[in-house]
């Protein structure tokens, strides 16, 4: 197991939003974490990466306990988060953004070429200020910046959010290609169908709890997944 999470609880102020979640990701897998808005997915991600201190439970990366460590240590644990909404440095150029991603990487010059080969659109825009890129290009930049850190594990928080359907397809194709490079991926998404089509396994989260776990191909046809997404409005049909 590359990433292991056990009984993790976290929240804001006195409000607990993740209620004892356990999950794991094996090396080389794409694992989806699905759920509707407010299910607690992003809070869980923040807790895993160290942006939020867990209240309870543990996180292990490659067998080493990482829960409670500051977020900047996650790079040395080979774990990188691509946050929701991209969070690129919008006043910096594409090149500067990418080099910032490889700040700790002594071979960043070489890796920059590799990333630009992978995302030719970024090469075309190398000197452009990142804030002027389209949504899809910004997402590519966020993925490229993450790759510059040579991660073993990528945590992707809603990479398809706000993108046009064609761009979503491209982003998911890139995610699949990253797995082929040997990167393990935990993919947090609301786009269940697209995620389940590229993931090996997935977890479905609802109200801060995991309600389902299984192979992605099987979850695609699971009525509970639909119910978890449609929420209370679906209840009448359900019952």
């Amino acid at each position: 197991m590359l990433l292991q999470v056990k009984n993790l609880r976290c929240g804001y102020g006195s409000l607990e939003v993740v209620h004892g979640v356990s999950l794991h990701v094996c090396a080389g897998e794409i694992v989806g974490l699905l759920g509707a808005n407010g299910a607690g997915k992003s809070s869980l991600m923040k807790s895993i990466i160290g942006l939020m201190a867990p209240w309870h439970g543990g996180v292990w990366m490659n067998g080493r306990r990482v829960a409670g460590q500051p977020a900047w240590r996650s790079i040395s644990n080979s774990m990188v988060l691509v946050p929701e909404g991209r969070q690129i440095f919008s006043d910096m150029t594409v090149r500067e953004n990418l080099l910032m991603g490889g700040y700790h990487n002594p071979d960043r010059g070489m890796d920059l070429d590799m990333v630009l080969d992978r995302f030719p659109r970024l090469r075309e825009r190398i000197a452009q200020v990142a804030g002027t890129l389209s949504g899809g290009e910004q997402q590519m930049l966020a993925l490229g910046r993450a790759l510059m850190a040579r991660p073993k594990m990528l945590l992707l928080d809603e990479p398809s959010m706000g993108l046009a359907p064609l761009m979503v397809e491209m982003v998911f194709a890139e995610i699949r290609a990253m797995r082929d490079l040997g990167v393990t991926i935990l993919l947090v998404e609301q786009n269940a169908t697209a995620t389940l089509q590229i993931a090996d396994r997935a977890y479905v989260m609802e109200s801060g709890e995991i309600i389902l776990e299984g192979e992605a191909a099987e979850l695609l046809h699971n009525p509970e997944v639909k119910r978890a997404y449609l929420g209370k409005g679906y209840k009448e049909v359900w019952e």
């Binding site: 292991q4 999950l23 709890e209 309600i211 099987e218 046809h221």
Partner: protein, 392 residues
């Protein structure tokens, strides 16, 4: 080593235990949300370790019977695509539901057993339940389809028809009940059919048998003999895989097992329609965590006898209470009777009182036959009715 699902059957213990914990935690959430009986019992109970399993409530066969027909379902009926029935305590009917995913999973679990028994896409499988019921035939068919093996889609009840199928279709595997396998062996002997003249390589029995019976079948049919072991209220076959070393490995990625006071308790982690928490199987069992040369990491079960009054008559489950209940609806209601249960039939001795006595033979023979037919129709068990003057 023949393994169908290497990832799950050979999963290292630490990963397997993490998976079990995750599945158990999400199962508790689903049970609390979707099954009233569990919602009342679980309240806000959460589980942080598999070691705390014993703190969770037990599900009894009586719970299932009280919830008949759909009270234990964790899915709305429109998501259930297959309903099976089985026998609960004292013959009470139970309903087992399957969603589409449940059937897919069942096929995969059955395929694990078939592959462990040497089945490949080149094999032909004959499923014969004989005269007794074998509800696992569907699971075997689903599993065989996944492997690509051919299943003979005909059920031969008469022994001659079974033998004809064995010689015409040339199956390499026979899936059947122990009683039928023994019967077949005797029939082949009587008809002087030489086992090597058939293509049969393996017999997969519907339930575990003692070593003597296994050896008898091995020697009589000149085949490998393997057994499946499951729990009808949960999944049968599918709970375990019997490996080439004769060990029943639990499919622990899908089932959590524990032994409590010698009884096997099973938690179905992945069943969608009817997941059960710590189900009391009423089957005696012992468990071992010894390493097996086959490489499977699931714990090894050694199944024993039933712990309740359930009998097996010609592979049909039967409770003695059902016999009294059945007789109470017939002309001999209220008469004293004694029951002797044999492997192939029930022998019922009924006291011959003045009101049913006749000096002619045919009314008594008629009564005797109608009672025997009633046994078969209502209980599915062959019976032999005898009239006796008095009980010593």
């Amino acid at each position: 080593m023949k393994v169908f699902d290497r990832r799950n059957e050979l999963m290292p213990r630490p990963e397997l235990e993490q998976l079990q914990l995750e599945r158990l935690q999400s199962l508790l959430v689903r049970l609390r949300r979707n099954v009233r009986r569990y919602r009342e019992r679980l309240a806000d109970l959460r589980l942080e370790s598999l070691d705390a399993l014993a703190s969770l409530p037990i599900t009894t066969p009586e719970d299932m019977a009280e919830s008949f027909p759909y009270g234990m379902f964790a899915m709305p009926l429109r998501e259930i695509i297959r309903l099976h029935s089985t026998m609960g305590p004292d013959g009470a009917p139970l309903v087992i539901g399957h969603t589409r995913n449940d059937l897919t999973q069942w096929g995969k679990l059955a395929a694990r057993q078939l592959v462990a028994s040497g089945v490949t896409a080149n094999d032909v499988i004959q499923v014969c339940s004989g005269t007794g019921p074998y509800r696992g035939a569907l699971g075997i068919t689903l599993g065989a389809e996944l492997i690509g093996a051919s299943v003979i889609a005909e059920e031969a009840y008469h022994m001659d028809a079974q033998l004809a199928m064995l010689s015409n279709y040339r199956p390499t595997m026979l899936v059947t009940t122990p009683s039928n396998a023994l019967e077949l062996m005797r029939a082949m002997d009587q008809q002087r059919i030489d086992p090597p003249s058939l293509q049969l390589r393996t017999v997969l029995l519907s339930r575990p048998v003692d070593e003597a019976t296994r050896e008898q079948l091995r020697a009589g049919l000149l085949v490998e003999v393997q057994s499946s072991f499951g729990i009808e209220e949960i999944l049968d076959p599918g709970l375990c895989v019997e490996c080439e070393h004769g060990h029943f490995h639990v499919n622990e990625d899908q089932f959590l097992v524990e032994i409590q006071a010698g009884e096997l308790l099973v938690t179905a982690l992945c069943r969608e329609a009817m997941p059960l928490l710590r189900f009391q199987t009423r089957v005696a069992c012992s468990m071992s965590r010894d390493k097996c040369p086959c490489g499977r990491t699931g714990v090894i079960l050694k199944p024993g006898n039933r712990l309740d009054e359930r009998l097996l008559v010609n592979e049909t489950p039967l409770y003695k209470g059902q016999i009294a209940e059945m007789l109470s609806h017939t002309r001999v209601a209220g008469r004293q009777f004694a029951v002797d249960v044999l492997a192939s039939r029930v022998v019922v001795s009924i006291q011959l009182t003045e009101d049913i006595f006749s000096d002619m033979m045919w009314p008594l023979i008629d009564l005797q036959r109608s009672l025997e037919l009633e046994f078969l129709a209502r209980l599915g068990a062959p019976a032999e009715v005898r009239f006796v003057q008095s009980f010593e």
